[in-house]
Symmetry: none
Subunit: 204 residues, 4 copies
């Protein structure tokens, strides 16, 4: 049907905007990317952009939504599924780390934006980024509390621990995505981080 051809074309253009903008965000940063950049790089007309997105922010929201979807499918549900079985807690955490890694790899651009833009001020963008971290912290916190309840983690201020953990991971991911550090040994590093998280650094 003509209808669906049109629909397809429309979706195509939408995707074009999304991928192009993702690249621009990566290259110049979110704030430095202007609508002018986007229409220049996509080759679309100025007004066309506004047919698909009302503002730059909306593109970012879209990307973020995709990330959330992946996270929901791959991580959020993780704790429910996996915490039941016999695997050691350590291995479970490593497996979780691998899952996160996989998702971050698939959503490099958004993740890079998220880790490069700590959210302080109060633009819509900042609130989104902040929301992401809050969520992450809450998830981590939930896991830690579960660990405490099930006797695998010594009692701690779970909020504090989750903040430290989330912040630490963020710096790690930031370093990886912006400088390429650890690119070829990420799985190994994940294990080291989990090891550190479990045992600390002290010589015993």
């Amino acid at each position: 049907m003509k209808r669906s051809v049109r629909e397809a074309k429309k979706q195509e253009k939408r995707t074009l905007i999304l991928t192009t903008t993702a690249r621009l965000f990566k290259e110049k940063g979110y704030h430095a990317t202007t609508i002018a950049d986007i229409i220049r790089e996509t080759g679309l007309a100025r007004g066309t952009f506004y047919l698909y997105f009302r503002e730059k922010q909306e593109i970012f929201n879209e990307m973020l939504k995709a990330l959330y979807t992946s996270l929901t499918a791959g991580v959020w549900q993780f704790e429910i599924e996996k915490f039941q079985d016999r695997e050691s807690f350590y291995n479970q955490l490593v497996a979780l780390g691998y899952r996160l890694l996989k998702i971050f790899r698939e959503h490099r651009e958004v993740v890079q934006i998220l880790v490069s833009n700590p959210a302080g001020a109060d633009s819509a963008f900042d609130r989104q980024v902040h929301g992401f971290y809050t969520l992450l912290v809450e998830v981590a916190r939930g896991m830690i509390e579960r660990g405490i309840e099930t006797g695998r983690i010594v009692p701690h201020d779970s909020k504090l621990l989750s903040l430290i953990l989330t912040g630490g991971l963020r710096e790690f991911v930031f370093q990886w995505l912006t400088t390429g550090l650890y690119e070829d040994e990420l799985e190994d590093k994940i294990e080291q981080i989990v090891f550190f998280f479990m045992r600390g650094v002290e010589v015993r």
Copy 2:
């Protein structure tokens, strides 16, 4: 003397700009703060601002310099002084944490800007912020390596550990400074962080 009266007034105005801008940075974020905001809030004339600072960036530099000075006096030299004596490593780290805390309290505004703002893109500001973290990571790394050499820390990828540590602390400080969390129990939380850093979370 007449001379000093003028000088004093000038210094007063300089301070006015600095404190007002610090507040604005805090309220709206560094990037969202415009020169127009600054002159409106200080009540100064358009041109007066440029009499004291050539650009917004310069105000931030000023603040940062003061922080660096404090850090140099209070922390950098710390490792040299303290790592010699008999105190337990744990206590040493806690003491270091307290020192950092004290300095961060005295420089709340700058620190808040540092933990709240993008360090990804490449404006002069971003480079400054990034430089600060790089420095912090390097200092942490040096300490960790010393710990490994002296047999107090089990061999680890020191770069990785320092990234995680710095990132974790940053999130902690960010939370404290923007939401007021832990305001009245910071010393306690520092101890918990050091404890976590040393022993991890695993039940043994």
Copy 3:
């Protein structure tokens, strides 16, 4: 077609800017003319100007290019064509003068700017104006040297002569274009200038 209607309107606006700016340059001089003046006089919005030209300079370049094109077609090639035939040298020079005059008449505005504005300092504008004169001097010099080679002009420092000639003509054109002097007897005056150039003033 719709397409061409839009195109036409755009061209119209472009022309509006060009003519309005030409008038302003004439009235207030190049340097005294601001972008604000241009948008006020054209009735356009602030940003519209930048849709057509990136800077004031670009308008001038546009005008200058048109002049260069005419000069290339009408004068530069002149010496090649005409110096071959039998016409007396005197008549040839007069003919060249007429040609120049015709071109200057068609490009009054640019020419007026060129003869009325500083060529000393080193802005982009000044370099353009200076480049124009340098070119003129070089062309004049080439012609004089050809005249010397072919035995029609007594040996002289050709550079010096071309400087004097170019400067003299410029003052003449300046007077004509700013005060209207000689407006109705330009051809006659051209002949007098050529006569003076050939024979000097001395009574013999």
Copy 4:
């Protein structure tokens, strides 16, 4: 007397401003030179400048006045004195050229400003420059008319001739002062110009 010491100091400061500004005008051009430049280079206070001159323009006027004084003493009166005696007309013109040259050498800076800033627009500055040329043209015209009356110059449109002559000289002086061309052979070139003015270029 105290009075005269003060007076002397005042005069000194005035001179300081004049020479410093002359240098700046030469280096950066008249328009590009700001009051800020002047007070920086003189080391005077902002307000002090305004005790001596109300505006930049006034400094230029001062310089111009000095040039006028020299011209009045050395050239204007020239025609009156010299045109009486037996010297050949040619030699008289050369002598006049030498005199002009001497004066221009002594007032390099002002002269450079005058020849670098053809006056088109209508600022006070432009009017001054324009006035200078008008005067020069009038003087030249007077001389030419006298030459015609006394039978040494063939009848010509004296206004036209004086425009051409003045413009030519200006270009010559401009070249000399801005590029240094002819610096070491100026007297020689003056003679060549007079020769050209008298006899033209034609081979006879």
